[in-house]
């Protein structure tokens, strides 16, 4: 997993229930007092596309290897795509980028 780029998504009780229904509860890791995090995988190429589509976002290359400061709506949509695709892999981000691009044109 070394060097794998990730997006962290917060999972509260409500979201955890949805993940459980999608069979993804194993993908949520306990962080703080019942708040969990799920990590969605991002390829190098997808990272570059996300950073150019959302210039406010930052890639924390030195410590966490995560993409931070994505708008709330983006993270909500990525979470919904995880449920839809029953996945937390790169296919989720692929679908998200496709949606963004279709929304544009």
């Amino acid at each position: 997993m070394n060097g794998q780029i990730m997006i962290n998504i917060w999972i509260n009780e409500e979201r955890f229930e949805k993940m459980r229904e999608a069979g993804l509860s194993g993908m949520a890791q306990d962080m703080l007092a019942g708040m969990k995090v799920t990590r969605v995988k991002v390829s190098e190429k997808q990272k570059d596309i996300l950073l150019s589509e959302f210039p406010m976002a930052k890639f924390d290359s030195s410590t966490t290897g995560t993409i931070e400061l994505l708008p709330r709506k983006v993270k909500d949509e990525i979470f919904n795509l995880c449920l839809e695709k029953k996945s937390t892999g790169e296919d989720v981000i692929e679908a998200f980028i496709l949606r963004v691009r279709n929304g544009r044109t």
């Binding site: 999972i11 703080l32 007092a33 019942g34 931070e68 709330r72």
Partner: protein, 423 residues
């Protein structure tokens, strides 16, 4: 009611009686002051900084730096000085004995009787107060950036600032604090210093401190209160917005996590120096002037980065304990323990290996993502209040942004008594 404050001295208000200002100030030379000085004028005027009655001169600054006391021996840890640039001083020709009208946003704020005009050695002061001259320290930057000369002098407010919603509901002068305790029947009051929206690792220590501060008072009727005293001062990008802090804290009692007869929220105008141990002593002094009997001090109180060791502030407070008219309540690190299944203290829970820390970064990222935390992280009512404050006051964010800095509402406004004289 006699108000006994820091050093056992009476807290005195220094405010011109209503209606007098207009005729007195109309011909005075004016000096426009910055936000920090405006806050400190108001603090001096109401007695938050008692026994100070004005801005310090060189002898006082030296004494505070070297001895951590005023020249008369009263404990004091942070210099309170007024700076003006050399050009202004030369042009206006301020001299000892002159009365100057201090203005803020061009409105009359206070009259100062000029004492000494002197050159502050900011680097030396920074070294003594912060224990470092590293410009990465925000307090060092604050002290060193105040260019020009310092002017000492006694201060009297020309009128009372008008606090704006939502702050008006939480504005209490030292006198008002003492009255509040009398009305609530509080014999002991423990102060909680904050610049945060409360999560449960703030709430639980306040609750522990309530027991600690109650000591041997009877408990059938509450005789002890928790006073959340927020510090409101200059904001930086990424800080919590003041409105979210104060409304979020108040929500703890509105939603019943504290009884209304054991809890109150107020604020003090103060620009944080992040001076760690010395700032902790200063907070103790200010809360003594608000009539508090106890003050909670957590890990790395008023520190920044890794400039201070976690319990440096506690050590200094212990050293000066005899000179404090307030009892410190020391807290260790708090965490959530999944085994104890509660927020607890590192001094009690022996499950350090599995403890989950409340880091500011984690809380910030939950709030930015708008994902409602579990109630064991943040109370749902507090979360909703913070979200509402973001929309109403924060331009969509609970954190300070450029839009907030440029367009936020005033915390207070000043009337212009000169207008009443010449309409």
């Amino acid at each position: 009611m006699k108000l006994t404050g820091h050093g056992g001295k009476e807290v005195v208000e220094r405010i011109l009686p209503g209606g007098m200002a207009g005729s007195i100030i109309s011909d005075m030379p004016e000096l426009e002051v910055d936000t920090q000085t405006a806050h400190e004028c108001i603090d001096i005027g109401y007695g938050f900084l008692s026994p100070l009655d004005g801005f310090m001169g060189s002898e006082e600054v030296d004494s505070v730096c070297e001895e951590m006391s005023l020249p008369d021996g009263t404990l004091w840890s942070i210099p309170i000085t007024l700076e003006a640039n050399d050009d202004t001083i030369r042009k206006k020709g301020f001299r000892e004995g002159d009365e100057i009208l201090l203005t803020y946003h061009r409105k009359p704020l206070a009259i100062m009787k000029t004492g000494e005009v002197f050159q502050l050695d900011a680097d030396r002061v920074a070294g003594k107060i912060y224990g470092t001259s590293d410009p990465k320290h925000p307090g060092v930057r604050r002290t060193v950036s105040r260019k020009g000369k310092s002017i000492s002098g006694k201060v009297i407010l020309v009128g009372e600032p008008e606090f704006q919603p939502p702050f008006d509901r939480f504005w209490l002068t030292p006198r008002n604090h003492f009255s509040l305790y009398r009305d609530k029947g509080w014999e002991h009051v423990v102060a909680h210093q904050t610049r945060n929206v409360p999560h449960t690792a703030h709430e639980w220590p306040m609750k522990y401190c309530w027991f600690a501060a109650n000591e041997d008072l009877s408990v059938e009727v509450p005789h002890t209160g928790v006073l959340v005293n927020a510090v409101i001062g200059e904001k930086r990008n990424g800080d919590y917005i003041d409105e979210a802090i104060i409304l979020g804290q108040a929500e703890l009692a509105n939603a019943g996590y504290f009884r209304k007869d054991t809890f109150a929220v107020s604020f003090t105008l103060w620009d944080m120096r992040y001076a760690g141990p010395r700032e902790a002593v200063h907070h103790a002094i200010m809360r003594t002037n608000l009539g508090c009997t106890h003050h909670m001090f957590g890990r790395d109180h008023a520190g920044v980065g890794d400039f201070y060791k976690p319990y440096d502030a506690h050590s200094l407070l212990k050293q000066v304990r005899e000179q404090l008219n307030i009892k410190p309540v020391f807290m260790m690190e708090n965490w959530f323990c999944p085994i104890c299944s509660e927020v607890t203290s590192s001094g009690l829970c022996d499950h350090a290996a599995t403890a989950q820390n409340f880091s500011g970064t984690l809380l910030r990222s939950m709030l930015i993502d708008g994902v409602q935390p579990t109630r064991q992280v943040m109370r749902p009512e507090v979360f909703q209040t913070v979200q509402a404050a973001s929309d109403t006051y924060g331009f969509g964010s609970p954190f300070v942004t450029d839009s907030y800095l440029q367009n936020r509402g005033n915390v207070f406004k000043l009337a212009d008594p000169r207008k009443e004289v010449s309409p």
